[in-house]
Symmetry: D2
Subunit: 498 residues, 4 copies
């Protein structure tokens, strides 16, 4: 069985001390091993990054950006290979992996604009003959810790921008599906990145804690669950680092009575079940306003879900694949059970899906649950599976109160055709990313991604304009030139040092 190693200073390194299985979630088989980095290995990566930093920092931004132009070419050239790797270890279907990769590439495209993004502000005459300007300088060595559900995209949210800003990077990706992440990072060398500027260490808590405590790490970006995000944030900040830690979510869609219901159902299908619901922007709760809307939603949804096809990544006609592990499969089923036990009605039941030829895969079928209430565990916690729960309310205000009452504030959406309802909703809802008839309101790469409340710890959102600020520190220069006589000519006859 192959072992996935670490990328340090341009070389693939395997320690061989501790490792862990990597599974194909469609078959349930362990197919690879991943090496788990010790503290020493992580420190070796940090040292490599530190060594590469001075030259990289002084490389003009346009030259750093040009490596990203080339990187984009290489990602597009190797797209099929990357999607295959993602499918084998994560389980997501080819078209979904391609979508993930494309979203990742969009962050590379944005990073190509570094010279524009890094412009400082220049003020002439802040006082008589005094000028002042700001520079956005790199931080040094920074780290990223990323989750299993987007092994290509989430790392690409982070390091392309970190690198073009002049930083060196240590990535600690998920140990569940490490291959595509490592492969992509290796392409950077071919794109012209000097060795040591980008490093990948696979590992577990030991690797994470090393990054959190090492003084040479200036900043940490994290995406994962809220309890870990909170740990990462408080530990990193207590160690004097800047940190942005993105956590869990419970994304609600309000379905208004005036919504185009066919459109809403069509949108909800992909948003709730795509990638088996293992997305922090998955739409997992539909709040129907009024029973007329609720009944229509349930009826149309039920009909539409009949056509959902679950299976292995290699068949592109599948809609979604297995969840990531056996344990996670059991957890998702447990939430469905608990909802049922607490009085909800399982309208479409995905608990025992038959997937021809994949009897041992970690599959959960698309599940629709009606009459969910806020007291239920399945409502309060993030399921991270292909489960759409419907809550019924009487008014739009109740729907909004429900959303605002939840712990998380990542994404949300309203289906309506009414301008006023949409504006009131987007203005007042306590959620960071808002869709109007857009169920997965993931901001495009030139905007920034971030939830509110306990979905994000930190001041600045991920990628886009906020990432430029996160990966740089402001330096303000104030300049005044006292006359040295050179201009006036007095010194020309006999130059002396004063």
């Amino acid at each position: 069985m192959n072992t996935v190693g670490h990328l340090i200073n341009g070389e693939i390194i395997t320690e061989g001390t501790r490792s862990q299985n990597v599974f194909n979630p469609a078959t349930g088989d362990a197919t690879k091993q991943v090496d788990l980095a010790s503290k020493a290995t992580v420190e070796q990566a940090i040292a490599a990054a530190q060594a590469a930093y001075p030259a990289w920092r002084n490389t003009p931004a346009i030259k750093r950006a040009r490596i990203m132009f080339k990187f984009k070419e290489l990602l597009e050239k190797h797209a099929d290979q990357i999607c295959q790797m993602i499918g084998e270890e994560h389980g997501k279907i080819g078209h979904d992996a391609a979508g993930e990769l494309q979203r990742g590439i969009e962050n590379v495209e944005y990073a190509c604009g570094a010279p524009e993004l890094l412009k400082g502000e220049h003020s002439k005459n802040v006082g008589p003959s005094i000028d002042s300007w700001s520079e956005f300088q790199p931080l040094g060595v920074v780290a990223g810790i990323t989750p299993f559900n987007f092994p290509a995209m989430v790392p690409l949210w982070m390091y392309p921008m970190a690198l073009v800003c002049g930083n060196c990077f240590i990535l600690k990706p998920s140990e569940r599906d490490p291959s595509s992440t490592l492969f992509i990072a290796q392409l950077l060398r071919e794109a012209g990145l000097p060795d040591g500027v980008m490093n990948v260490v696979n590992g577990d808590k030991e690797a994470v804690d090393t990054l959190l405590h090492d003084k040479r790490i200036q900043a940490v970006s994290f995406v994962g669950s809220t309890p870990i995000a909170e740990y990462i944030y408080s530990t990193a900040t207590a160690n004097g680092k800047r940190c942005q830690a993105l956590g869990g979510a419970k994304n609600h869609a309000i379905v208004m009575p005036d919504a185009d219901m066919d459109n809403a159902v069509n949108q909800l299908l992909g948003a709730a079940f795509g990638s088996s619901g293992e997305r922090c922007m998955a739409l997992s709760v539909a709040v129907a306003v009024g029973d007329v809307a609720a009944d229509a939603l349930i009826a149309k949804m039920t009909a539409a879900m009949k056509k959902l096809k679950v299976g292995a990544h290699s068949d592109n006609s599948n809609d979604f694949g297995p969840v990531i592990t056996r344990q996670h499969q059991e957890k998702v089923v447990g939430y469905i059970n608990s909802a049922e036990e607490q009085g909800a009605r399982v309208v479409v039941d995905g608990r025992n899906p038959e997937v021809q030829g994949y009897a041992n895969g970690f599959f959960v079928g698309g599940t629709l649950i009606d009459n969910v209430t806020p007291e239920m565990v399945s409502y309060q916690e993030e399921i991270f599976g292909p489960v759409l729960q419907v809550v019924r309310v009487e008014t739009m205000q109740q729907a909004m109160d429900l959303i605002d009452g939840h712990e998380y504030g990542n994404g949300t959406c309203i289906f309506t055709r009414d301008g006023e309802a949409a504006r009131y909703f987007s203005d007042n809802i306590q959620v960071g990313m808002v869709g109007i008839n857009v169920p997965l309101p993931v901001p495009v790469a030139y905007h920034s991604f971030g939830g509110w409340k306990r979905s994000l710890f930190g001041d600045l959102h991920a990628y886009g304009p906020d990432a430029v600020r996160f990966y740089t520190k402001r330096k303000t220069v104030t300049q005044r030139w006292p006359s040295a006589g050179v201009r006036e000519g007095a010194e020309f006859s006999m130059p002396t040092m004063k």
Copy 2:
């Protein structure tokens, strides 16, 4: 003796349970008492702010800004009165208090531009007929904790911007010189600010800890010493708040051999001794490159210091006044003693200044120390007194290494007439605010203030553009309007709900 109270919901309130003396540092006399808020009182302020928030949040930015236009007028109208209050409790001379207030007003002026500063980014067609934009929404109730050395200016770095962004504010100013701060805050009501939007609580650790732990406080801005800054930052962030905490400093000026030495000496005088050196941007170390430069610097400095005049705030011909407390006076003298003991040469000795008529004042005279080395305690720690230490080095690179080796990275300066030296210095030095022939490179109000290393904890600097980002959270809206038939006219004949 008068007691200084709290401003809560537009009323001045005094608890009367715990209080502390406020001194006139020029006479050494206790002249007032300041009430120390209990947890309950602070919570009352928070509740008032929370209650005022919804209406204030929905007030158009231009209307919030207009209150700042009026506030500026009132600050200018009451300037003399405010400077008097500052002088009586802090001790700084009238001209210096006027300078502080002016710097504060400049932040009010900047806040008047709120409508411009709060613009979000609008993207048409992020996909086919899909638009996306960002909004910078207020956080809610936020807090500021400010130091004794700028009772007018540092609070004005914070709340004008916080308020125009739509937040409500709780200010916990220094308990050593609370009167001017409170007076200024009261002017906001006359300027048209609704009650409860701005509140002031005087207090000590109890008040601070209440602010740090209360869930309703969304953000904390702090200026003070590094150990407290670190405590504030780690506590606030562990409690899920955003935080920016500005700490101590040790600001070096490099004096190059080609510098205009008369200009340098003239600039250093004010930068080292102004406000008795009780400024986080005080220039406390001069690094002379080469003995020729060092000797010239010492000679010219010694001569210039003969004219320094120390005394009470009320005499505007004085250059600077007393330090803030008896204990602080002793601490400053202790540093001078230690430098002497560790081998430095006290060239001009301010340890026992005679100040006619103010025998009990907390005075320290201007002090110049030569041959200081990095091992000395007086070099490693922040003195916060009217003491300029000179370190001699051979090369500019040694001077820069010295600066980069220090714990702090707040401000720094180079005196030279050479473009290349200045550019190399400003590019490479690990300090957040850099002066080129400007010894106090405090950024103007439309740039941002912040040190590096252990001089600032957090991502975003104080005031200026960074403050807009600190006091707002990004919301990204993605919008698509499915056709509802209205435009096409199909629905005109028979409107029905789909």
Copy 3:
């Protein structure tokens, strides 16, 4: 009879050679004379401006801005007096004059943000150790030529921004209502503006042509009718000046069947008849989609118009006042006649309004005309009177084609509650300022004002961010400092000139 003179170099000057009557349009009486400047007088103003320029250019932006802070105070203090002057010469009612003045003051408020608005872009390391930045420098002496309909507001669109950018200004206001304009300009001196920086010349074509041909004038801003705008633009540009020339308008509102009709009628009342329709943003055509909407609009409008009150400026209960001149009154009535003759139906007829006590005033009452068609003269030309014409169409697309087919493209509006219709309209309509349920979509002062097609000649719109670019020229500096040995220390022993 008093004569209104010119403001040149801080002094009021009257030539006494040529002059013209100024009327009170409510009474029809000539009440003042206005001096008409000769070429020599205009050149005197230009010379004064040119002389004041070098010092003003070098005044820090923050100091220029502070004059605007004070100017705002003075405008607010003298508001009643200014509105009185406007009413006496222009005829608009007190509340309307107050609105105009307020809109003008908002441009002064925006100009207070000059230090932020004038920031250039700074790029570190555009090449190895090469930096580059942009500066936005003033143009020199610039001119504004403004119309009678907003004697306070339109000049304030121009010169506050031009001045804070560092330019000196020559204003040639309308000779029909010159008093408020001149009074306002005089307040600048009290606000602290140095003499000569701002100058006002009253006059006619001779003054205009002098400004257009004088080499010292760097830029011309104009607001007026399209034929004159075109002349100004082609003449100014042929003389090497930059120019922005705003012309006429024919602003349509589409009334959709799903609109809130009471709201639409309420909005249209003010937008069509306010200031007697003498606004370039007046809503003069309502395009009703479908006869149901059209009939409802006509019915509700007819009822609402019964309450319209026309009269003299001094009675604040009036809705609008007289038009500007006898000739203009006749012209407006002529358009109504022609519409009737060409087959339209005059539903509410304002041709012979009775205004008690003002028998000789230049009044036209609110007029509503139905069944207007694109062939009619009254549809094709700008009426500039209190006349609302209704065109009936079958579909929204027809309504949009009508708008896009018209010569002008200043403002437009749609009344609907449908998000999709609003988005399609605002995206595709060939008009520069678009309202969604906002009938007078005049951009706020921190955005920019400008129409499309033959409503504006030039690249940059009026006021707001575009004005900053219009009143400054870009300078790009690229800087590299070759080592001079100063930093490395080689030169310290023996400095020589190379």
Copy 4:
């Protein structure tokens, strides 16, 4: 002999009516013909562009940008071929053509950032529940007219940005060296650009005048000589188009006594003689301050010029090649003659260069002329040949007066090591592009290119941020949603149209 045709709607078209020779300037031979488009052919191109516009306008900016990503790849892939074409028709040496192409590609890179660059400004609550935002919409069909001296670069200044902003483009390149321009434009199709979006017409005044008068052309960008620029600008603006027209130059370098003279000479060599001085940013006048500096400059320059190598483009060891035509060769020699006749001293004489094997080529050798004075014709006019003239002055102020007294204000430079001299110079000199120790201060692609005075007609500079504004028009939308009852729920029971 091959004939170079036009690119219209994706096809190469040749009229065959009128044509003109294309020469190889190194041999003097006519090698090709270029078809000269008639009015009808130009109108055909405009019609094609107009037809392609609606779909292109609605293509999301990110998709338009991705064509530029691919275009960059193709330009890099075909770089050698392009440089060969440039060399054969323009005569510039391979390394110089490569530099030109690279500068062109940098504009393509900048255009890749379109989604960022096209962001509008979004303001929430400009009034109660009223929002406003700006959109930067494309103009429609726009045109570029470009000169012979940069057949690859100058067109790439224009159309990449125009296209990503959503416009369609007609390019009228120089008829002297049309092949590389046409080849490059054809690559766009391979990059994915729809037919008709980009069109190239070769031609002369007939083509130009057609573009200037056709109502469908919304904007014209021009680079060429000042008399033509002035004609283009006044004609285009009189026809209601926006226009930016870049004209001639006379770029001075001030050589200060404290300059690093070896560095200055080294820089001046390339800046004065590179591309035979046929650059609008060529450094053609050195102003030496003081005779010591002047004598040193002349001595070092004379020595350095001995190594200059002139010859054909195909030998990459040559420094520069021939000028563009026989007539231009004679004109350049005429300027040298006139300088000599008017009393200047020809120090290095390039009038009769021997170029082995290229007896009939249009060569002029590098020429250095001392003691030039402002009265000489060779000083007043643009030579556009490999001629560096030295003017001697006593003071820096005299040098600056000289520069400011010249008709042109394109580029300028100062050689000094003194910060104060550099700052004073860059602040005050009336020139649009300023170098500090950078003799060819061509702004990088993410800044903008433009001279002052008679070097540029128009408000906005070429490429960079200004180009975004030039190629788009601002639309400001103001939006208010009156309640329709949908949100409040009133309408849920019985939806009806109001």
